[in-house]
């Protein structure tokens, strides 16, 4: 005791501190693979302190199907049928960059009519994907009706796609050099040209009118609601620098203020012939991301209406040999999937199929921002933010 008093190391009263907070441990909450709000089997291991989240770690891979390995043992037409199952909500938009990459390697170009039909089907796929987003996002925030109304409106678009291609979700309509020219290669079916069926123009015009009405209705029903605005404004703000650092793309990037749309840079689809706006947001919160996708639906409907009025006539596919062998080389093509930027990198050694196919999917890069964004947020905000990123698990683990 004397030594302590005489040593000169007596702690001053002002340096002593008493902790009045109760020491608690964070609870580990497993927002597990089976959950109504993760769009598929995404697992988030979250450390939660009451309702505040301290850290989140996503665990991926529950739905890995091995696309890149499957592509090594298959030929190019077979891979086209497999690839539209990656982002199963928008079927047609997944085939386009793959076919464009092979056409770039073979140095052929599709005829004008084929390009226009491809553009119409891509925009329809974009509208269908954004309908699913609108309905499912409102469901996660708590409004239970808009998903039914969105699914009803989506059925019309799927019926249109089915009348042209034969499949609702997996159209399988692209061929190397154009779109599917005839129903078969036999003596009678070769005359059965698989062009647009009769009555398509009028049905599409009616359907696009209904889409524009549905967009107005969604704006009033979901966006005009004060509770929705309170839940989504100011929540999950992604700044411009954060978005560019993590490589997010698509509507998320546009909602943070960056006016970047790959549709203005593609040359294998004739987007430069039509007038459309590219919506951007100001703050980068959940409300802006929702709003940007809503306005994109409206612009897509306008593009389709313009494209129908100016459809050129001509052949549907350029001449390609029956057994397609792609020359040696590498190519990478990227386009604007409804969820972001999708790219295919093909290394070909001159065989019937690619040597290596690498798929760059938008959702995989988009959810890499989750551990950074979710620190310090409340648990209901986690659901709102995850919903607004609009990812699909087939895209994340292909």
């Amino acid at each position: 005791m004397d030594e302590i008093l005489n040593s000169g190391n007596i702690p001053y009263v002002s340096e002593a501190s008493v902790s009045v907070e109760i020491e608690t441990e964070d609870m580990t909450l497993n927002i597990g693979p089976q959950h109504p709000s993760t769009h598929g089997v995404l697992r988030l291991v979250a450390k939660v302190d009451g309702e505040k989240i301290s850290s989140v770690e996503p665990v991926l891979g529950y739905m890995h199907r091995g696309y890149e390995k499957l592509a090594e043992v298959r030929t190019y037409p077979q891979i086209t049928t497999l690839v539209n199952r990656i982002d199963w909500v928008s079927g047609f938009a997944n085939e386009i960059p793959f076919i464009a990459a092979t056409e770039k390697l073979m140095e052929i170009e599709a005829p004008e009519r084929a390009k226009h039909i491809r553009l119409i089907l891509t925009e329809m796929a974009r509208i269908a994907s954004h309908f699913v987003f609108n309905g499912a996002y409102a469901l996660e925030i708590g409004a239970l009706t808009p998903i039914f109304l969105a699914m009803e409106d989506r059925e019309r678009i799927l019926d249109l796609i089915e009348s042209v291609t034969g499949g609702r979700f997996h159209p399988n309509f692209n061929r190397i050099g154009g779109i599917k020219p005839a129903a078969g290669s036999g003596p009678t079916t070769k005359k059965n040209v698989q062009d647009l069926p009769s009555g398509f123009y009028q049905e599409t015009r009616d359907a696009m009118e209904k889409v524009l009405e549905a967009v107005e209705r969604m704006e009033d029903l979901v966006g005009g609601n004060e509770v929705f605005k309170m839940r989504t404004k100011g929540v999950g703000i992604i700044s411009k620098e954060l978005a560019e650092e993590y490589g997010v793309s698509g509507p998320i990037l546009r909602a943070s203020g960056v006016k970047f749309d790959l549709r203005t840079q593609t040359d294998f689809l004739p987007y430069d012939k039509f007038e459309y706006e590219i919506p951007t947001g100001e703050n980068g919160d959940c409300y802006d991301r929702w709003y940007v996708r809503l306005v994109e639906m409206r612009e897509s409907a306008k593009i389709i209406l313009q494209a129908i009025d100016s459809m050129p006539s001509g052949p549907l596919q350029t001449k390609v040999p029956k057994v397609i062998k792609v020359p040696k080389g590498q190519s990478y093509v990227r386009t604007e999937n409804p969820k972001g930027e999708m790219g295919y990198y093909i290394i070909s050694e001159g065989g019937l199929g690619p040597y290596r196919l690498k798929i760059r999917t938008p959702s995989f890069s988009n959810i890499s921002i989750l551990p950074v964004l979710l620190e310090g947020q409340l648990l209901p905000d986690l659901i709102a933010i995850m919903g607004s990123l609009d990812f699909v698990l087939g895209d994340v683990d292909r």
């Binding site: 049928t81 009803e152 089915e162 034969g166 997996h170 129903a183 036999g186 005009g224 605005k229």
Partner: protein, 161 residues
């Protein structure tokens, strides 16, 4: 960005939309978007990919469809038969006869490659979709069953001008 210009406070507009929806559903004058499935069937587009039909006479067991299928779900076995010569003193011709042509619809991806590559017009698409079974093994359709689907192949419809 466009500003909303609501005429009523936002949630009242939403409630009004739902109330009008309710009256639309109850009134007999507006069309019903629902199809009461077992009692009413939906009218599918003629190009819809429902099931594949086989024309046995045209098939020569060239195996192109079985080779190009991405799932390898077509099983073909055949043998060659000698036909009598057409002219007296001529050569005997051989003709391929199908023993077994099965398509396993539990594996089939409905992609359409087999229909497209067949050079002899033996396979056709039909929009039939009601063939589900209780037993997985019954999803393997053999020659006779594939032949029966031929009656449902639709006529070729007209194209847009």
């Amino acid at each position: 960005m466009k500003n909303f210009r609501p005429k009523l406070p936002g949630f009242l507009t939403g409630m009004k939309i739902l109330l009008f929806n309710m009256f639309k559903t109850l009134s007999p004058f507006s069309p019903n978007p629902n199809v009461n499935y077992p009692f009413e069937k939906e009218i599918v587009a003629p190009r819809a990919r429902g099931v594949i039909a086989l024309d046995q006479e045209a098939c020569t067991s060239c195996m192109l469809c079985a080779r190009q299928c991405p799932d390898w779900c077509i099983y073909i076995e055949g043998h060659k038969e000698l036909q009598p010569p057409t002219k007296p003193g001529g050569r005997q011709r051989s003709r391929a006869v199908l023993d077994r042509f099965d398509i396993d619809y539990a594996l089939c991806m409905y992609c359409g490659i087999c229909v497209e590559v067949c050079p002899f017009d033996a396979l056709f698409w039909t929009p039939e979709y009601e063939y589900s079974e209780y037993n997985m093994g019954d999803m393997l359709h053999d020659k006779t069953r594939l032949d029966q689907w031929l009656k449902t192949v639709p006529e070729v419809e007209g194209l847009e001008s």
